[in-house]
């Protein structure tokens, strides 16, 4: 039972960090990032590859974050002067291009065989038996830190400018705010946070391969953000907890049903789809979102 709770804490915690990066971009800045998983993959691969080559873990994690942040900023600079949906198209393309590069650059990534046997933080100190428990603690600490960082920013003048861009970019510009720069900043910071979650995911899985980073992962993050309430950091964390709770309990129930594994994973997605549709009908603002923010204006 403890193992079960620890595994939920780990996956939900890692995905909560991942989704918090997206919530900054979508919930606060209104940016359509459909390739969020690419930055998670960058974090995971950069950390693992550097640490396998003798770089200590902390700098390896930071390098992944910086690289992902730079990539996010670059994609933003290339597309944000165009209409907003171009960012969505370019980011989803980027995430698939990156996955195929990881699959095919075998000399570096070992392709679909994946990477394993890489260092994990404090693995000698903690020992293998309690390692997941330790890692869950680490993940929750990082989650708390990221949450506090984002809450501070959301309540700051910086966050206010971001929200104004989400509501009406022309107003922000007319009041002297460089909207373009703020959008690039939000993309860079959100991508760096996704990279951090990627490093943690690599530590947890002990084995990474490019197919861990399919586009569906991006949309899991979207489900978490929308379910919890866009622009609400606590909601996003709740969304992650609910989605992973749902995944693990339904997996648990599979034993009692006579579905084949493919059918049951399909049924699970159908169920999530139905829940989301129901939510859009009866609680469109998300679990913790504020209704006024949806019903006013327009």
């Amino acid at each position: 039972m403890l193992d079960y709770l620890v595994s939920i804490a780990l996956t939900a915690g890692i995905y909560a960090i991942f989704a918090l990066g997206l919530n900054l971009q979508w919930g606060y800045a209104g940016l359509l990032n459909f390739g969020h998983v690419a930055f998670m993959a960058m974090g995971a691969y950069v950390t693992v590859l550097l640490s396998m080559n003798g770089i200590p873990l902390l700098p390896a994690v930071l390098a992944g974050m910086i690289l992902a942040g730079a990539a996010g900023a670059f994609l933003g600079m290339a597309t944000l002067r165009l209409r907003e949906d171009y960012l969505a198209i370019v980011t989803i393309g980027f995430s698939e291009i990156l996955r195929f590069i990881l699959l095919n650059w075998s000399s570096l990534t070992r392709g679909s065989f994946g990477l394993f046997g890489y260092p994990r933080p404090f693995q000698d100190l903690v020992g293998i038996r309690d390692y997941n428990l330790f890692l869950a603690g680490l993940v929750l600490a990082v989650l708390l830190l990221v949450y506090m960082l984002l809450e501070t920013l959301a309540r700051s003048p910086w966050g206010r400018v971001l929200k104004s861009i989400r509501d009406d970019e022309a107003v922000a510009i007319s009041l002297g705010k460089n909207a373009f720069s703020y959008k690039v900043q939000a993309l860079a910071l959100g991508s760096a946070i996704a990279a951090l979650s990627g490093s943690l995911l690599a530590f947890y899985l002990q084995y990474i391969n490019p197919n861990n980073f399919q586009p569906i992962e991006t949309f899991y993050a979207w489900i978490m953000v929308i379910m919890g309430g866009s622009g609400n950091n606590r909601g996003t964390i709740l969304g992650a907890l609910i989605l992973w709770g749902f995944f693990s309990t339904t997996r648990f129930m599979e034993g009692y049903l006579s579905f084949s594994p493919t059918a049951s994973s399909g049924a699970r997605m159908v169920l999530i789809g139905l829940i989301l549709i129901g939510m859009m009908m009866f609680r469109p603002q998300g679990l913790l979102g504020r209704k006024e923010e949806l019903s006013i204006g327009k």
Binding site: L149, S156, K163, D167, S174, L175, G176, L189
Partner: protein, 255 residues
């Protein structure tokens, strides 16, 4: 002679085959209110878009506070003290009235990504100052009691007021008001005229686009009439308004 705040010279802007602005020139003296009228499609809002940097002109020159601003990005023009409002009120619907106001303040250290994380006290102190200023201006526009409401829940007239109030937060030197009286009920409009006069007395220069001619006449020191992208007439309001050509532009030739 008073100082010149703005001088737009021979500005041209075409959309496809249509010349929205055709060698249009306009100047504003320090502390003056300049009225801008003309039939629909005369190019008034386009002129605002060009002056404020939201649209690049095809030709011309725009000098603000002695500096050529043509080609500067819109946000930089706003920072220089040339602030515009929009014809259709653009409140930030999902932000409160107070948040809308506080956004307008210039020179906020906390708008840099890292400052709120490392200089919390400085940011908090500045926020307090900005909040006090915002409440003062809201009071001036009778909006203070609405400060915690979502801007999206205000009435049309209140949104217009909020937009003007928010622009004032930026301490503009020249304010461009695009139809400030549209959607404002007559009782409120009279109070708005008083307030605009007070702003003028404080030294603010203003250009007003307005269809309601009586309000423009009540406020303007100078009046420009635009028609088909050109300045049809300009000068003292009473002289301009009795010009036969202005009459014809509105009602058609031979009217």
């Amino acid at each position: 002679m008073a100082n010149e705040v703005l001088s737009a010279i021979s500005v041209c802007k075409g959309f496809g085959g249509i010349l929205a602005l055709d060698h249009c020139s306009i100047r504003v003296e320090e502390g003056d209110i300049v009225g801008l009228i003309g039939p629909n499609g005369a190019g008034k809002s386009t002129l605002f878009d060009v002056i404020s940097g939201f649209l690049p002109p095809d030709a011309g020159s725009i000098v603000f506070s002695g500096r050529e601003i043509l080609g500067l990005p819109a946000y930089k023009i706003a920072r220089l003290g040339l602030v515009r409002t929009f014809q259709i009120p653009r409140s930030l619907m999902r932000m409160t009235v107070l948040e809308n106001m506080m956004l307008g303040a210039q020179g906020q250290a906390g708008e840099r990504l890292y400052i709120p994380l490392i200089r919390r006290h400085k940011v908090m102190a500045q926020e307090k100052e900005i909040r006090e200023k915002a409440e003062e201006i809201l009071e001036f526009f009778d909006l203070r009691r609405m400060r915690d409401e979502y801007a999206g829940s205000l009435s049309g007239g209140q949104k217009k007021m909020l937009e003007m109030a928010r622009a004032l937060m930026a301490d503009p030197r020249l304010l461009l008001l695009d139809e400030p009286f549209a959607g404002v009920n007559p009782a409120l409009a009279d109070r708005l005229i008083e307030r605009i006069r007070i702003l003028k007395e404080k030294g603010l220069s203003i250009i007003i686009i307005e269809h309601a001619i009586p309000y423009v006449l009540a406020l303007s020191d100078e009046l420009y009439v635009l028609n088909k992208g050109r300045v049809l007439a300009s000068g003292r309001p009473d002289a301009v308004i009795s010009d036969r050509r202005v009459f014809e532009a509105y009602l058609g030739e031979g009217a």
